[in-house]
Amino acid sequence: MILASRDIIDSVDKAWWILTGISVVLFIGIMTALVIFAIKYHRSRNPRAADISGNTKLEIAWTVLPTLLSVYMFFVGYEGFALMRDMPSEENSIVVEVDARQWAFTFRYPNADISSPDMYVPVGKPIRCHLTAPDDDVIHSFYIPYFRTKEDCVPGRTNYMWFQADKIGVYNIFCAEYCGKDHARMVSKLHVVSEEDYRKWLTQRLEDRFRPIDDVAAVMDAKSEGIVASNAAELYTVYCASCHGPKGEGGLVEGARSFIDNATDKWKKGVTIPDMFRTLTLGLDGTRMKAFDNLSAWDRFALAHHVASLHPDGPGRSDAPIEEYKKLIDEFKLAEQKKVSLDFPVDEAIEELVEKTGSEKNK
């Protein structure tokens, strides 16, 4: 049976209290002795010091005792650690891919091809986090203080961590490994919601934003349902504003393009929506513009439309003929992501999981 995070939290806190207790007792002991000796044996009261140069028995005692205490304290800390690292299997948990990059987390639900800058998980389910950072990025660390757990997101490898929320609520997520300019703003939220709300959230995401893109008109029109549902302004703030500025003024990191300046009109891959989609999907080699393929295709289109809308000349500047969109959809096989539909496996998986964990508990 998988233990809940509550056990981990309790174990960490217990270890903390044991270590603190030992420390406080010893600290008070040391300081009291120091003060008493300093007063009692002050030169005004004790003009001549005693002739003592050591005591081997005492030395052995205060070497052996801290050694034993150290071994004990090691085990105290090991206990909670063992729970933390006792990862639930993928079948028994909800897997969330945590993509960390300068300077945002993206949470991906691989069973559903959903991406979100905030994390949503159902209460009472083990959540298995697969932590990564893009190869050309830097190290980050995924830290949820409430669950007393953290693990680094290192380029080129996948690290693992898990937790299980026992209370509905919103919790802080921080990046704990220094990652540069906006390290302090690499803050996200964990929404622990009821099983029902979680399913609702997933379903809505799928309905609104994660349909396959086979309708050219839908991605051409900035006001189409799928684009609007992506809430591009929020995505822009999370993923783009750190470098390109909250209003698209650019230059917040070296070489970051301004989206509003007419003078710098020659964009590397062009200024139309399909061009921007390509840039977002592939990144720009040799620059700090990364491939944002961690975002869903709808989100990338939404971002392209949002960027187009920032320009003072208006979004018309980024219009492209319909053929360009068709080419794009073929190029990235966007119409083929058909598996994503309402009867997608996550729902079933959850259903199954509820039964499984329920029956396990009954055992």
């Binding site: 981990i8 174990s11 960490v12 270890a15 903390w16 420390s23 040391i30 300081m31 120091l34 000796f37 300093a38 044996y41 030169r43 004790n46 003009p47 001549r48 010091a49 005693a50 003592i52 140069s53 050591g54 005591n55 005492l58 070497t63 801290p66 150290s70 304290m73 090691f74 105290v76 800390g77 090991y78 206990e79 909670g80 650690f81 933390m84 690292r85 190869d135 830097v138 190290i139 660390s141 830290y143 409430y146 007393r148 290192v154 380029p155 080129g156 490898r157 802080n172 921080f174 704990a176 490994e177 990652c179 540069g180 300019k181 906006d182 390290h183 302090a184 703003r185 803050v187 070296e254």
Partner: protein, 550 residues
């Protein structure tokens, strides 16, 4: 006061400060005492600069949001603060200044084994410092003092210069270490056995071995990062089959033992001050001496406790946690021995002694909170939070930094031949102590509440901790400035210091204050040990008046 030199009796040698005049005589000196003064000036200057940077960081953190420094500016200040404090202040501090000044004297030698190499170390140090300053002029660096890859391989900021600077500073450490080891082995006064050496010398000796053995690793690591950055050799680049964690291992193989390079000499200073002001033999001489070597040895095997959340194998984390706990044993042994030394002593609380008591307080807090970092489950939570910032400031600054100031107060009369105002020193220490604890203690709590470190901004729920901390920084800085000004003023205005103002038993108190260039014309008096204070009580139980220079 101005005619001191003229007033000296003819037989008296001219002291090392007045032995020669002019800037050139200082910059080309091979006298270990003058080199110590060169280091002192440079190290104190850098300390004050980096402290100023720290105060700026705290000021930015007074309120949430950006007040006057944005992320990139804050990150540069943070890096600079860390690089200067680590490489230019705390690593060289006690060994380079007080080690240089006192190690030869304490073992009855006239200089270190290789005096010219000693001067070369200082030039390596200055070259590193100048490069670091040039890097600042070119826009600064934003990698943090740890230079983690891939960040340091990718950042736009100028990483080359500070890394070359750190490399040169490493050379300075290695050469000083070699010099000290050779000096201890070769130049002890005839008749001085290993067991007759003051414990400060043992601390320096242990430190020197770490510096010599571990520093090359960081040198190699920095060179590899530069090759990664400029030649793209891919050793740390995951996309090319390298591993970013390799860097962390290599970096901490040096940088963790470096922590003991910082703290062992400080413990050595404590082991000098406590018996001197207790007029009592140090308790458990050999246990303190051996515990220094034990800390050096065990401390070399615990580096990966900096990587408990890095994704390193769980087995590795377990082993490194287990080993880390054992470093606490020799540290505890030292504290108990100091306490036992005070027991039934004849204690006088002059400023150096008060500082040593302060060390025991700060080091205990720093050490005990280290247990929570060594312990696996608690470390996962507090790793890379403000808790760690508080912990290492208690050990590095509250302990080692404080003992650097203690050493200044203990040996200032010897180095400059002048006494300073005790009242001012007590007052300055009081402010420092209150300010320091107000500055760093709230950060433990902030860290436990989840506040990550190296954040230029924070959520409003952490405001209280940060505000208290910032106010503490102001009080602490005022205290420190009072301490420094008190000492500096004393050089010109202070009362003349006697040869042995504290009644110390180590050899530096047998020679004039300040000492002549050639300190031991006659063989030093080894009739009593370094902690044998009986000589002070020749006349019944009345302590002999400490000798005052003619």
């Amino acid at each position: 006061m101005s005619n001191d030199a003229a007033a000296l009796p003819p037989l008296e040698q001219v002291d090392y400060i007045r032995a020669k005049k002019g800037l050139k005589s200082w910059l080309t000196t091979v006298d270990h005492k003058r080199i110590a003064i060169l280091y002192l000036i440079a190290i104190l200057t850098f300390f004050i600069v980096a402290m100023g940077l720290g105060v700026l960081m705290r000021l930015e953190l007074l309120n949430p949001g950006t007040d006057f420094m944005d992320g990139p500016a804050y990150n540069r200040i943070l890096t600079l603060h860390g690089v200067i404090m680590t490489f230019l202040f705390i690593i060289p501090s006690i060994p380079a200044v007080f080690g240089n000044f006192l190690l030869p004297i304490m073992i009855g030698a006239n200089d270190v084994q290789f005096p010219r190499l000693n001067l070369a170390s200082w030039y390596f140090y200055m070259a590193g410092a100048v490069l670091a300053l040039i890097a600042v002029g070119l826009g600064g660096v934003d990698t943090g003092w740890t230079f983690y890859v891939p960040y340091s391989a990718n950042t736009d900021s100028n990483v080359l210069l500070p890394m070359v600077a750190a490399f040169l500073l490493g050379w300075s450490s290695i050469l000083t270490g070699l010099n000290f080891i050779a000096t201890v082995h070769r130049l002890r006064a005839p008749g001085m056995k290993w067991g007759d050496m003051p414990l400060f010398v043992w601390g320096l000796y242990a430190t020197s071995w770490i510096a010599v053995l571990a520093t090359p690793v960081v040198g190699i690591t920095l060179i590899l990062v530069l090759m990664e950055r400029f030649l793209g050799i891919g050793i740390f680049n995951a996309a090319m089959g390298g591993d970013p964690l390799l860097f962390q291992h290599m970096f901490w193989i040096y940088s963790h033992p470096a922590v003991y390079v910082m703290v062992l000499p400080a413990m050595g200073v404590v082991s000098e001050i406590i018996p001197a002001f207790s007029r009592k033999k140090i308790f458990g001489y050999w246990f303190i001496a051996v515990s220094s070597m034990a800390i050096a040895a065990i401390g070399s095997l615990v580096w990966a406790h900096h990587m408990f959340t890095s994704g390193m194998a769980d087995e590795g984390r377990v082993i490194f946690s287990f080993l880390t706990f054992f470093v606490s044993v020799p540290s505890a042994v030292k504290v108990f021995n100091w306490l036992a030394t005070i027991y039934k002593g004849s204690i006088k609380i002059d400023p150096p002694m008060l500082f040593a008591f302060g060390f025991i307080f700060m080091f205990s807090i720093g050490g005990f909170t280290g247990l929570m970092n060594a312990s696996l489950s608690t470390d996962i939570h507090i790793h890379d939070t403000a808790f760690v910032v508080a912990h290492f400031h208690y050990t590095m600054f509250g302990s080692t930094g404080l003992m650097f100031f203690a050493a200044m107060h203990y040996w200032w009369p010897k180095m400059f031949g002048r006494m300073y105002s005790f009242k001012t020193a007590f007052f300055g220490f009081g402010l420092f102590f209150i300010g320091f604890n107000l500055l760093y203690f709230p950060l433990f709590l902030a860290g436990l509440a989840g506040m990550p470190r190296r954040y230029q901004d924070y959520l409003p729920e952490y405001h209280g901790y940060h505000a208290a901390s910032t106010i503490g920084s102001w009080i602490m800085v005022v205290g420190l400035m009072i301490l420094f000004i008190n000492l500096i003023v004393a050089i010109w205005r202070g009362k003349k210091a006697p040869m042995n103002p504290w009644g110390g038993a180590t050899l530096e108190w047998q020679i004039p204050s300040p000492p002549p260039t050639h300190q031991f014309d006659a063989a030093p008096d080894l009739t009593h040990g370094p902690y044998d204070y009986d000589f002070l009580y020749e006349d019944e139980d009345q302590p002999k008046e400490t000798e005052v220079k003619a």
